[in-house]
């Protein structure tokens, strides 16, 4: 009989503290950044499936500086009018240099087809972060540049975006309750003269994350991720465009094990894809990618190897 009371009392205390937690609106957690609203769902569902061979090698020269080399070989799709996909074999080499510092992050990438990608992320104070992203190509009018200023408040985040071709955007996200955060965005583009607004909501508990986003461009995105355990999560997403009336829904799993990670997905267009990442030994990862599209009769298979010599190996992508 005496055994019964402590859990009861504990439960009461728990409930009390929960109520207190709910009342305390002045101490809400900081929400996730607006552009990362769907990050859990994207991590499970947007696996970067590839076709052909991929080889990545990265070597840390010292604690802060690392170089990366990657080779990609395989067929790439050529955009065409007909429904049949046309593929031509291509091969690319990419050279990258990374500089990591707690306050400063510099990433540069050069590809053999003349594309150059540069990213800078600098923490000016603990609250203000400046990000810059530039993409240069040898084709005219396809180079891009973007500046982001992120401000992290106690229970909100604000971001100002400035891009080339007079793009101005701002996002704001605020925690409303400890679990729910609401946000909005505004953008204005100068060259294809258009502007828009969007709203987003995100609800998360320890076991699930649900997020929804709607924009005046007509896109509606909804995501739901259920974490079954620490290793397994199931995700589903739903995308709908109000103007073009196309709907896509997909459901997938993400299984993280000690030596491997498997992600699988099937979507409403009948495309099945899976990506297996297997750690063979320290710093040596093996990738197997498969994607089946029965409707278009398009089957993609790829394998890859990722070698990270010494410390860091997370600069890919």
């Amino acid at each position: 009989m005496a055994d019964l009371f402590p859990p009861l009392a504990a439960a009461q205390v728990d409930a009390k503290s929960k109520v207190d937690e709910k009342v305390d609106y002045s101490n809400l957690p900081c929400p996730v950044p607006y552009e990362e609203l769907h990050r859990e769902a994207f991590m499970s569902l947007k696996s970067d499936n590839f076709e052909g061979l991929r080889f990545d090698f990265s070597k840390a020269l010292n604690q802060k500086f690392s170089l990366s080399h990657s080779v990609m070989m395989g067929p790439t799709e050529v955009p065409s009018q007909s429904s049949e996909t046309i593929k031509i074999p291509t091969a690319h080499y990419e050279f990258g240099a990374n500089y990591y510092d707690p306050k400063l992050l510099l990433i540069g990438r050069v590809m053999t087809d003349g594309r150059l990608n540069a990213r800078v992320k600098a923490d000016i104070t603990d609250k203000l972060v400046v990000k810059a992203n530039a993409q240069l190509t040898n084709e005219p009018h396809s180079s891009q540049a973007m500046f982001n200023f992120d401000y992290m408040g106690k229970d909100y985040r604000a971001q100002l975006q400035l891009g080339h071709s007079a793009l101005v955007g701002a996002t704001y996200i605020q925690s409303v309750t400890p679990r729910l955060s609401l946000g909005g965005e505004v953008f204005w583009a100068g060259v294809p003269r258009k502007s828009g607004i969007g709203y987003a909501a995100r609800y998360e508990t320890d076991k699930m994350v649900a997020s929804a986003q709607v924009a005046s461009t007509g896109a509606i995105v909804m995501n739901y991720v259920q974490k079954i355990s620490e290793k397994v999560s199931l995700a589903t997403d739903f995308m709908y465009n109000y103007f073009s009336r196309d709907v896509t829904a997909s459901v997938g799993y993400d299984y993280i094990l000690r030596q491997s990670r498997v992600r699988g997905k099937i979507d409403s267009n009948g495309v099945t894809s899976a990506l297996l990442e297997e750690r063979l030994s320290m710093g040596l990862n093996f990738l197997l990618s498969a994607e089946l599209d029965h409707k278009k009769k398009d089957y993609k298979f790829g394998f890859g190897l990722t070698i990270a010599a010494a410390v860091s190996a997370s600069g890919f992508g």
Binding site: Y253, Q259, G264, T272, L276, A290, H294
Partner: protein, 98 residues
Amino acid sequence: MAAKRIGAGKSGGGGDSSILAKISNSEIVSQGRRVAGDTVEVSKKLLWSTGKAAWISGTTFLILVVPLIIVMDREAQLNELELQQASLLGTPPSTMQR
């Protein structure tokens, strides 16, 4: 047609019954033939679509489930090995906490 009539005439005893038999025979035969043809057609289609469905579901299974099973099996083996090692070394298994 002629062969059928001869056959019907041979087997039938009287003229009346032979005509009846002939009519019923021919109708059944034609109907049967049609039904058989339809059945073959339908079953062909059914077989083909089942085959296609099996192909699609089989390949989907191969892509989505088979790697998962293999990887989970490996994980289980690894866990077992670790447990064995732990028991050999004599470390007590971690107690569950409420």
